[in-house]
């Protein structure tokens, strides 16, 4: 499959398709459906220092061509992920991207330092769409200064390249991207979910117990494409594109916008085979477009 392989900082991938963080657990469930080595990489669920239960349920709500989630970063905590999840994943020859989260800078640093030393973690994905408790709950990812400070500190301790996962809930996504690039980010992941809400008209309360949730799925694809189109022209680090990808054609659209590989999130819930299906389908689409290697398409809409 020499038409699909991709070399990005820390990531040597046989194809540019990975499941998105939080939509694939730590791989065990999908391993029952297909061989995980078919994937280009795997972005595992966000790791925090402590075990987190997350938010009360309901945690998901459906929207038109999309869904809201407020899982609340439930995860077994750093030690357990290192000892169990990552060790289990070692059986597969596939690079792992460790998504890390926290509510204060120190937490991020601790997780980044330790998880980046795991044998199969080839990159860190810094999830900055989390509330910073020390700054009164303002999200790390909505302030360029806070985001770049965090990036710098995580870079200092990480043994592997760091991809910063940008929040789309900002006025100026380019400003955010440039700030974290200057702070040393090796790549960007975009986009995380849009902040949204649904209200149950009978109960007169938000459907999600948490009130707000993150909007994902096909509904947000046009926003993702727009932001990647803008950012890819302003930075020189590669972009992992995501937001509503569910077909090989979607992948091409993200590449043309400026992504260098693509993560698939919500679509895994609709079709557990979506990632291998896309990977198998890509050569057909490349043929139709007369393209030898998918990397030729990166930024093709503005180049």
């Amino acid at each position: 499959m020499s038409r699909l392989n991709m070399e990005l900082p820390g990531l040597s991938m046989r194809n540019p398709i990975m499941p998105a963080s939080g939509c694939f657990g730590f791989g065990k469930e999908y391993a029952k459906f297909y061989d995980l080595e078919k994937l280009g990489a795997i972005a595992i669920k966000a790791a925090t220092v402590e075990t987190r239960f997350g938010n009360p349920t309901p945690r998901v709500a459906e929207t038109s061509s999309g869904m809201l989630n407020a899982i609340g970063l439930q995860n077994p905590g750093l030690e357990s992920i290192l000892a169990n999840e990552l060790v289990w994943l070692e059986q597969y020859e596939v690079p792992i991207i460790a998504n890390i989260a926290g509510t204060k800078t120190e937490d991020y640093i601790e997780v980044a330092e330790k998880i980046s030393k795991a044998k199969n973690v080839h990159a860190i994905e810094l999830n900055i769409s989390c509330p910073n408790v020390k700054e009164g709950g303002i999200t790390f990812g909505t302030n360029p200064k806070i985001a770049s400070d965090l990036t710098r500190l995580v870079k200092e301790v990480s043994s592997v390249p760091v991809y910063v996962k940008l929040s789309p809930n900002v006025t100026d996504i380019v400003e955010m991207a440039v700030a974290v690039e200057e702070a040393g980010a090796d790549g960007l992941s975009m986009i995380n979910t849009l902040l949204g809400m649904r209200i149950d008209i009978k109960k007169r309360r938000p459907v999600l117990a948490n009130g707000f949730g993150g909007l994902s799925g096909p509904a947000i694809k046009p926003v993702a494409i727009r932001m990647i189109h803008q950012v890819s022209q302003a930075v020189s680090i590669p972009i992992i594109g995501m937001g509503g990808v569910s077909t090989a054609e979607d992948v091409i659209e993200f590449f043309l916008a400026g992504a260098s590989c693509v993560a698939v999130g919500t679509a895994n819930f609709v079709d557990p085979f979506v990632c291998p299906t896309i990977i198998e389908d890509l050569p057909r689409v490349l043929n139709e477009l007369g393209v030898d290697h998918i990397s030729e398409l990166i930024g093709g809409s503005w180049k």
């Binding site: 999908y30 459906f33 998901v60």
Partner: protein, 258 residues
């Protein structure tokens, strides 16, 4: 747990807004057992986006058919109700653990308590229990007479009491009231229905062995997204959890927080 396109061999209304749907497939049927559920895609496109979890009501491995019973209420189930014989739906399943049969020995009495759209999974369960020589007693609660379904089918398998909130069919009152009034005797409980009903059962029969099938909004249905978790009872750390889609939907009474 596989993904299979299943053909609709029959679809018919059996109560007010309640449909009985028979699906024919290949492998999936052979994997299915009582109390498990299917995750059904009701449209080709992205609207609605997510699959719908629906319990298996009957398994016919000889014919290769599964029966589900669902209430058409929201966008997805309403679309499912419009599907015709011959159409194909994508089904992920069988999912979840299902009801274990081992806990009730031959000759013992199992009390099956169903509430509304929680009744369907009890049907295959009852069939299986009867097959094992267990005596089954059914107490099924519905809102009103137009909501009742499968009464005769359950009667064929064992004693059956219907409770309606308005008394328009069977006895008036809750399932718990019926069990009390009739002074029903039983060894084990199996129940599926609204959470308040399940809670009432836990409270009413604290010493009985039994199993409850829970519901929660789901994303993946296979344990990957953590949408459907619940707390474990008596967990001081408050971080222990069970996933309803894979650890459940059936839990032993007292196992998880309702």
């Amino acid at each position: 747990m596989i993904l299979e396109n299943m053909e609709i061999c029959q679809q018919q209304p059996i109560a007010s807004n309640v449909y009985e749907l028979v699906l024919k497939g290949q492998e999936l049927v052979n994997l299915a057992s009582q109390g498990q559920f299917l995750h059904v895609k009701v449209s080709e496109g992205t609207d609605p986006l997510l699959r719908r979890p629906i319990s298996i009501a009957k398994i016919d491995q000889d014919k290769g058919e599964l029966t589900v019973i669902y209430r058409a209420g929201g966008r997805g189930t309403n679309m499912l109700a419009l599907k015709q014989k011959g159409e194909v739906v994508s089904v992920l399943g069988p999912l979840g653990n299902g009801f274990s049969l081992e806990e009730t020995s031959k000759g013992a009495i199992a009390l099956l308590i169903g509430g509304g759209i929680g009744v369907p999974p009890l049907y295959e369960l009852s069939l299986q229990l009867v097959k094992r020589g267990v005596k089954v007693v059914h107490v099924l609660g519905f809102a009103g007479s137009s909501d009742v379904f499968y009464e005769e089918k359950f009667m064929e398998l064992g004693e059956t009491y219907i409770a309606t909130m308005d008394g328009s069919h069977g006895e008036k009152g809750t399932v718990i009231e019926i069990i009390d009034n009739k002074q029903l005797l039983f060894d084990t409980i199996y129940s599926c229905g609204p959470t308040p009903m399940l809670k009432a059962i836990e409270t009413a029969f604290p010493d009985k062995k039994g199993f409850l099938s829970l519901e929660e909004r789901m994303g993946c249905g296979i344990g990957a997204c953590f949408a459907c978790v619940c707390h474990v009872k008596d967990d001081p750390t408050k971080t222990a959890y069970k996933k309803i889609c894979t650890d459940g939907p059936v839990f032993a009474i007292g196992e998880v927080e309702l």
